[in-house]
Symmetry: C2
Subunit: 430 residues, 2 copies
C-alpha cells in the first residue's frame, strides 16, 4: 500500500531509545500492584484501576489523546492526518490473575506506547489515528467471563454477563464496571464503542505462555491463530460424605469421581495430540470442600473448573461430546452426580494472513529471528477477530510461563517484538 522510507537501523535505534522509560514503567506497574507473592491487578478492582491510572498519567504526560469507554477501557491516541480513516489499534489487557506476573497483558499495552513514541521519534505524522488500548477484564479467572473489556467495547458481550459475580468476593460485574467509571447500561443496550469497520487492525504483543521460544532460542514468534475453548467455570460433583471405613460398595466418593474424570480428559487429550490435533485441558480448581473435608471422611463433595482449548472447532466439539458421553458412566460407576453448571465458550480466532506476511517480512528485513506459533492461550485479539477486525499477534520469549510470579521476559526480547511491530506500522502509516 505504501513504501517505508526508513532503514531498518533507524527503526531499531528509535525503539532502543525508548528502553529507559519502558523499564521504569514496568517497574512502576509492578510496584503498585504487588500480590504477595507476584502481581495482583484484579479485574475492575484496585489492582487494575491502579494500572489504568498509571497508563493515563503516562499518556497525558506525553500529550496523547486519552479517552475511556463505557467498559472503562483506556485509550491513548496519536491523531492521524485523516482522523476518519480506519485506525490502527494496538494493545492488550492490564489486569492479571491473582498472584500473577507483571508482563502478561501489560507488555502489549507498553508495546503500543513504544510504537507511538517511535513514530514520533521518526517524525512521522501518521496517515490514520494510531491508538493504544488498555483493555479491561481479560482474565476470566475473576468473573468467569472472557474478554469482558474488549467484547463490551465491540458490543458483543453476551447477555447476562453483567450479572456475573466475582469468584472471590461476589461483587457483580455490572456494578463493578460502574464503580470504575464505566456505564454498564450502555453495555447492556449492546452499544458499541468500537466499530469494526473503523479499525484497520488490532495488533497485540504478548509474552509467550509456554517456553516454546526459550526451547527454540528465538526472541519473537508470530501468531498463527488463537485457540477457541469451552469452559465449565464452576462444576460440582455430588456424592455422599461417609466414614473413612465405609466399604467400597457403599461409597459415593466425589473426589475419586473427580480423579476419574480428570484421567478421562487426560486420555482424550493424549489421543488428540497423538493424532496431530494440539489442544489443552486445564482443571484449574480441582478440590474437595475445605469446609467439611478431612482425613477420616470420604469426600461427598468435589468442585472443579474446566477449560478445554484447541485451534480447530471440530476438535472442541469432538472432545466435549466424548466428555459428556463419559460422565453418565462415571456417575453410575461411582454413584455420584455431576453438576457442570454454566458453560462458556470462545470461538477460534484466526489471524489476518496479509498482516502476518507483513510482520514476517518486517522481521526478516530487521534480522530478528522469529517462528510461527499457535497461541496456547485466549487473547483479546480473538474478540476482535470474532468481530471481523483483522488481527495479528507477536509473542515475546518468556522463560517461566505466565500467570505466575516467575514470568521472566527480557526487555531486549520485548524491544525486538516492538521493533517488528513498529516496522510494520511505519510501513502502513508513514
Amino acid at each position: 500500500m505504501t513504501t517505508t522510507t526508513f532503514a531498518p537501523d533507524a527503526i531499531r535505534a528509535a525503539v532502543t531509545a525508548q528502553r529507559g522509560w519502558v523499564e521504569e514503567l514496568f517497574g512502576s506497574l509492578a510496584a503498585g500492584s504487588q500480590g504477595h507473592p507476584g502481581i495482583n491487578r484484579d479485574t475492575y478492582g484496585d489492582g487494575e484501576n491502579f494500572a489504568h491510572r498509571l497508563f493515563v498519567e503516562h499518556a497525558r504526560a506525553r500529550a496523547l489523546d486519552v479517552t475511556q469507554d463505557f467498559a472503562a477501557n483506556s485509550y491513548a491516541t496519536l491523531p492521524g492526518r485523516d482522523r476518519t480513516a480506519p485506525r490502527i489499534l494496538m494493545g492488550s489487557h492490564l489486569d492479571s490473575v491473582p498472584h500473577g506476573g507483571n508482563f502478561d497483558g501489560a507488555a502489549g499495552v507498553v508495546a503500543g506506547l513504544v510504537v507511538i513514541e517511535v513514530l514520533r521519534a521518526l517524525g512521522i505524522a501518521p496517515r490514520c489515528d494510531i491508538a493504544t488500548m488498555a483493555v479491561r477484564a481479560e482474565e476470566s479467572v475473576w468473573f468467569a467471563v472472557s474478554y469482558i473489556g474488549s467484547r463490551s467495547a465491540l458490543g458483543t458481550l453476551p447477555e447476562g454477563a453483567l450479572e456475573a459475580k466475582r469468584i472471590d468476593d461476589g461483587r457483580v460485574l455490572g456494578s463493578s464496571i460502574a464503580a470504575c467509571g464505566g456505564d454498564p447500561e450502555a453495555i447492556r443496550r449492546g452499544e458499541r464503542h468500537l466499530d469494526p469497520a473503523s479499525i484497520r487492525a488490532f495488533l497485540e504483543v504478548h509474552i509467550e505462555q509456554a517456553p516454546s521460544l526459550v526451547e527454540s532460542a528465538l526472541p519473537v514468534a508470530i501468531c498463527t491463530g488463537v485457540p477457541g475453548n469451552f469452559r465449565y467455570p464452576d462444576a460440582h460433583i455430588v456424592g455422599r460424605h461417609d466414614h473413612v471405613g465405609t466399604p467400597r460398595r457403599f461409597r459415593r466418593d466425589a473426589a475419586m469421581a473427580g480423579a476419574e474424570f480428570a484421567m478421562l480428559l487426560d486420555r482424550i487429550w493424549e489421543e488428540e495430540e497423538a493424532a496431530g490435533f494440539p489442544m489443552a485441558v486445564t482443571l484449574g480448581r480441582f478440590h474437595t470442600d475445605s469446609a467439611v473435608h478431612g482425613l477420616t471422611t470420604v469426600p461427598g463433595a468435589f468442585a472443579f473448573s474446566l477449560d478445554v482449548r484447541a485451534y480447530d472447532p471440530a476438535v472442541l466439539e469432538r472432545v466435549e461430546k466424548r466428555m459428556l458421553a463419559a460422565i453418565p458412566e462415571i456417575e453410575a460407576r461411582r454413584r455420584v452426580r455431576f453438576e457442570l453448571g454454566k458453560r462458556a465458550s470462545a470461538a477460534v480466532g484466526p489471524v489476518d494472513p496479509a498482516i502476518v506476511a507483513g510482520l514476517e517480512a518486517a522481521a526478516a528485513r530487521l534480522g530478528i529471528g522469529t517462528m510461527p506459533l499457535g497461541s496456547p492461550a485466549s487473547h483479546d485479539s480473538a474478540a476482535f477477530a470474532a468481530a471481523d477486525v483483522p488481527i495479528a499477534m507477536l509473542f515475546v520469549r518468556n522463560e517461566h510461563g505466565s500467570h505466575n510470579p516467575m514470568e521472566a521476559m527480557e526487555i531486549g526480547d520485548f524491544l525486538d517484538a516492538c521493533t517488528v511491530l513498529a516496522d510494520w506500522v511505519v510501513a502502513e502509516v508513514a
Copy 2:
C-alpha cells in the same frame, strides 16, 4: 466362670426401662454441640468439653464414682465387691468430626452407662468394678494422630505426638490437653493411668459406619476385628503454576498428578478386593491450593490426605509398597514431586475370641439377630488390643453412614446392643 441367674426377659426389661433418659441424654448431647450442619465436638475443644461436662453431671447425679485422668478422659465407675479385681471397662469417645453425627462415639459411652444402670436395676453388686470410660480425642481429623485419649491413658502415645498441631487452628496437642484439665507432662513421661493387667475387658458399642446391617436387616453386629491402617495426613504434590494455554509437554500439573495417584490407588484397591482382601482407600482432603488456584491457571500445587486400611497387615504392607513404587513413575511422567510428609499407622486390632463367643451366645439366648462384621473403621478398642487388653465390639445398625449429619441410629437397635452387652456383663460379674 459364673452362671447368670437372670432370665433373658429380665435383662431385656431392665434395658428397656432406661429408654427415657437415654433419649434425653442423646438429645442434650446434640443440642449442646451443634455444628451447623451436624455435630461439632472438637477434640480438646469446646464441643468435646461440653460432652464431658454432660457425662460427668449425669454420672454424679446417679452417684457413680467420677474421675478424670491426665489425658482428661472421664470415667464413671460402679464399685465392685472386690475393688482390686480386674475391672470391666466399657465406653468409646465423645469427640466428633467437624459437621459429624450425634452417635459416632457417644453411643458407646451411653451404652456403658446403660449397662451400669441395668446392673443396679437387677440389684447386682458386681464382683469387680464396672466403669464407663468417655474417651478423648479419637477422631484423628483434628490432630492427625489416632487414639490420643486411649493411648495416653495406656501410656502408649507415640513420642512427639504431643507436639502435633490441630489442623484447623494450629493449637498444640500438649497445651490443649492442659487447657482441658489434663497433665501433658505425665503423658510425656509415659506414665499410664490404665494398667492392662487391671482390665478384664474393654467393650465398645459403636454405630456401624457402612450400612451392612441395614443391607442385612439386622440390628446388631459382633465385630470380628478392627482394621489397621497407614496414613499420610498431610501430603503435597509440587508442580508448577502455568498459564492455562501451556502445551502438554511443558506442564507440571500437580492436580493431574493427584488424579493419576488416586486412580492408581483405586486400581490397587479393586484388585485386592477382587482377590478377597477387604481394604479401603480414602483421600479425604484432595485439593488444589485455594489461595492461588483458578480457571486459567495450571495447578502447580496439590494437597491430599491418605488413609489406607485393611484387616491383614500383609495387605497394608503390599499396598504401601506398590504405592511407593509407583510414585516415582508419576513424578517422572508429570514432572512433579511428591512430598508425602509425616506417616502414621495403626496396628490391626484383634478381638478376644472368648468374649466374642460369649456375646454370640448372649445374643442367641436373647433372640437378638446379629451377624459377624469386620469393623470398617479404627476404634479406641484397637488401642486397648494393642496393649493386650481383651476387647470386643458391638455395632448398631445405622442407615446413612457416620461422620456426617445424617447418622440415623434407631434407639431400639441401640437398646438391643445394650441388651447383648448387659447380658454378657451380668453373666461375668453377678
